[in-house]
Amino acid sequence: MSSPFRRTAVLSAVGLLLVSCAKRTDEDVQPNQRVLRVCSDPNNLPFSNERGEGFENRIAGLVARDLGARLEYTWFAQRRGFVRNTLRAGTCDLIMGVPSNFELAATTRPYYRSTYVFVSREDRNLDVASLDDPALRRLQIGVHVIGDDYANPPPLHALGRRNIIGNVAGYSIFGDYTEPNPPARLVEAVADAEVDVAVVWGPFAGFFAKQQVTPLRLTPVLPEIDLPFLPFVFDISMGVRRGEEGFRTELEGVLDRNEAEIDKILARYGIPLKPMARGTAGAKGR
């Protein structure tokens, strides 16, 4: 994909939009037309941004078209309180991507499965594919960090458990929200040789690796599940309010009808995918 998104894009306007609720409306407004209200982060590519440039924005457009609905967004930084202040507050009705076993919403069947990946510079020719690779004890490793209280992405847990600690650098998942797509800093850190290898959630890695001048190598993390139960592969679904299972069923119809096109969008954004058993009723709470 020749990408229109440059990491140098300055989104100064985004700075204070963590909670703002600006709404974007499609041009051809018809009276009494159904409205699809999507809860979305205004500054987090490749997922979404307020200019509608994310793959979730594209898929939301597909869903709206399929349902004959007009698309509206409630913009809110996807942080603590996101679901509470958007979906649960009733300001919007659909979150485009959540883990299929997400507790805070009723989820559709998964529509993609991605994986955490090792990201390194091609020119380093590192061959790290497993958390148990002894090289991880000497390389400088970058990971995303979230919070205390044990809330962290799987790589940090898995490395800590292996006592790989002193050579691990943390990049805040929140970062500086005045900059575009704060979580992207972790991939940039590999290109800029701040770290030798980063362990990154697939969509960030796939999309931002393409934005770098330096060629980067992506390798899915093994094992897929670090025993006893620390997954590195996640199924992603759409999320609706609990109690709105009718809407969920309707969305699953949309997923069925648009499967090929959704896959095409994911591929265009470079999302690393793992095969899924089609028709999986992976959603929780059924």
Binding site: R80, G97, P99, D149, I165, G166, V168, P203, P228
Partner: protein, 613 residues
């Protein structure tokens, strides 16, 4: 636009520069210092650390620099308190958790609401509103506040009311007109920094700190010049000595706190840069020793096992020179904190007889469940005793100054840790205690909560699936979730206590009438006998109380008691934030312990003022 490394370096450079520029101030003569101290007496009521003289006003949230929160007014006493009645009330129009103390200056009361941080000026006798000031903080700041959008109050200094706004600004407002005098940006909400603490003003410097330990901020205390809002110095809680303002005058008592750049070396690679240690609690000041005292918050944002080391200087306390910010000593309550035990509680400055001699001490009822008595000149721990049920510790070693940890309660992946007591909000959270020099008792509002850290949970943030421990909190032994305890720090024992259904999340107020006041989350404002703990009077408020009661003398010569209701805070977000009681692990696991709170209280803030007929 990868500015990350540059930015960090720049910050370091500026901090170092700041440290250099202001270090000369410490060289001025002792005479100048005394002269300045005299001047201060003119603008703030004369304050002695242990027993301040009382002019009937309330000029800072803690009332006095020593954080005693004692009112020497005695019209209201154990004999007549049952006649106390409402003089007036005032709705703040804000629905989130009200934690602030009102201030009283002359005939005016000042009150800061939670976000949007409105400042009200009210006539102390009639309850008439004089003016209101609206700082209009950025609404985005609500999204980065960890635990409700609270504010803990203002400070009065030379005609100005000074306080912090949630979006990390400090503002000074003209006390007469309500006009903004200056407004200074101290932190950045886009990096997770908010401000909720009540400042104090020492020798013309407003001391303020940041919140945001849950968002990977780097904690700091900043001195802001009271006349124009410019920054005088900033001391970080983590990082190299130059940033922490550790220099030749730094003399920590214990060997584990001595050494170069411990704020770097007690962390794995660069972790200190986002290591937490935010400064969102209480600051005290001893004018004789000319030292300020304040605590630092929990380390973050790492799993404990991913940040081996003491993680200095988080979950600890600093003594600093207020003019320069230079650190004089430091001590960690909870080195390498495992349980979110912020170390930011109040520092009660007292002169107490310890082993036959009078010592200048700092009493700290700490989040980890122990009451500490420290020598405030040196930082030596003179005693440390549990005031709540504790399973995480097996006692305290006075020789080393270290808690004896119970390793079996250390949480970790692949491990389920049950019955961790006290739970994350600690034996006691921010809610400040009060000291009566008459009874020589410290009155401590606190929690009685334990927690389990259990199975992994899939969660999602900023497009990223992650896993966390599911934290569930519940009542400790006895089944009550809160308690109000009278504690003798010399005998090192509990004198009496009152059990409360919910965490006692309000401050305490001791008075010379030997009546002690505090509020409860189930809407009782209580007056109790300071000696016996007998409840003498109570008032049913509109909402639960989590604020700080005060007492003042009106221009009419009468003693008044004032308190705000408005439930919320970390413990009360289930009501103030409308959280779903079915999601036990929300509010960092606090909701599970507070499921029935909505049956007892609604939200909404009102100030109540009581007096005798």
């Amino acid at each position: 636009m990868n500015l990350r490394p540059n930015k960090v370096h720049k910050t370091v450079a500026i901090a170092a520069l700041t440290a250099c520029c202001f270090s000369f101030i410490s060289c001025r003569s002792a005479e100048q210092r005394e002269a300045k101290a005299e001047n201060n007496k003119a603008s703030v009521a004369p304050i002695n650390a242990s027993v301040p003289a009382d002019d009937g006003q309330w000029l800072m949230a803690s009332k006095d620099y020593g954080a005693n929160r004692f009112s020497s007014l005695d019209q209201i006493n154990t004999g007549n308190v049952r006649n106390l009645r409402l003089a007036w009330s005032f709705s703040t129009g804000v629905l989130r958790g009200h934690e602030a103390a009102p201030l009283v200056v002359g005939d005016t009361m000042y009150f800061v609401t939670p976000y949007p941080n409105i400042l009200y000026a009210i006539d102390v006798i009639t309850g008439d509103k004089k003016w209101e000031y609206k700082p209009k903080p950025a609404s985005a700041s609500q999204g980065v506040a960890c635990c409700d959008v609270v504010n803990r109050g203002a400070a009065y200094w030379e005609g100005k009311v000074i306080y912090n706004t949630l979006d990390s600004h400090t503002v000074a407002v003209d006390a007469k007109t309500g006009k903004e005098v200056w407004k200074s940006r101290l932190g950045d909400i886009n990096r997770g920094e908010t401000m909720t603490m009540a400042p104090i003003v020492v020798k013309g410097k407003v001391l303020v700190g940041n919140s945001g330990g849950e968002f990977g901020v780097r904690g700091w205390l900043t001195a802001v010049n009271a006349n124009d809002g410019s920054i005088a110095w900033r001391a970080y809680s983590t990082g190299p000595d130059a940033d922490v303002l550790i220099g030749p005058r730094f003399k920590p008592f214990y060997p584990q706190d001595q050494g170069k750049d411990l704020g770097v070396t007690s962390w794995p690679r660069d972790h200190w840069k986002i290591g937490g240690g935010s400064v969102w609690g209480w600051i005290s000041y001893d004018p004789e020793l000319d030292l300020i005292y304040y605590g630092t918050g929990n380390p973050g944002p790492w799993n404990p096992e991913s940040r081996p080391g003491d993680n200095k200087w988080t979950a600890g306390i600093f003594a600093r020179d207020p003019d320069t910010g230079e650190a004089i000593w430091a001590y960690q309550w909870s080195p390498h904190d495992l349980y979110d035990y912020d170390g930011v509680n109040e520092n009660v400055l007292l002169d107490l007889p310890i082993n036959g001699e009078t010592r200048k001490v700092l009493v700290r009822p700490e989040r980890n469940g122990y009451v500490y008595v420290l020598d405030r000149t040196t930082g030596e721990v003179l005693s440390a005793d549990p005031f709540v049920y504790s399973t995480v510790s097996k006692g305290f070693d006075l020789k080393t100054g270290k808690m004896i940890d119970n390793e079996s309660k250390a949480p970790g992946y692949g491990r389920i840790a049950r019955e961790i007591c006290p739970s994350a909000p600690g034996g006691k959270d921010w809610q400040p205690s009060s000291w009566s020099p008459r009874t020589r008792i410290l009155y401590i509002p606190h929690n009685n909560l334990c927690m389990d850290m259990e199975a992994l949970e899939a969660n999602y943030i900023a497009g990223t699936p992650y896993v966390g421990a599911s934290v569930k909190m519940y009542a400790g032994p006895g089944g009550h979730r809160g308690e109000f305890t009278a504690w003798d720090p010399v005998q090192r024992k509990k004198i009496w206590s009152i059990k409360e259904k919910f965490p006692a999340w309000s401050g305490a107020l001791a008075t010379a009438g030997d009546v002690v006041f505090y509020g409860t989350m189930d809407r009782n404002f209580k007056a109790v006998d300071a000696r016996s703990g007998e409840v003498l009077w109570r008032y049913r408020s509109g909402s639960g109380i989590i604020s700080q009661p005060i007492s003042y003398k009106g221009p009419d010569g009468k003693q008044y008691i004032a308190v705000a209701d408005g439930v919320g805070g970390w413990s009360g977000t289930i009501v103030a934030g409308g959280l779903d009681p079915r999601d036990e692990t929300s509010a960092l696991g606090f909701v599970g312990a507070m499921k029935d709170l909505p049956d007892y209280t609604n939200k909404g803030g009102t100030i109540y003022v009581f007096t005798l007929p």
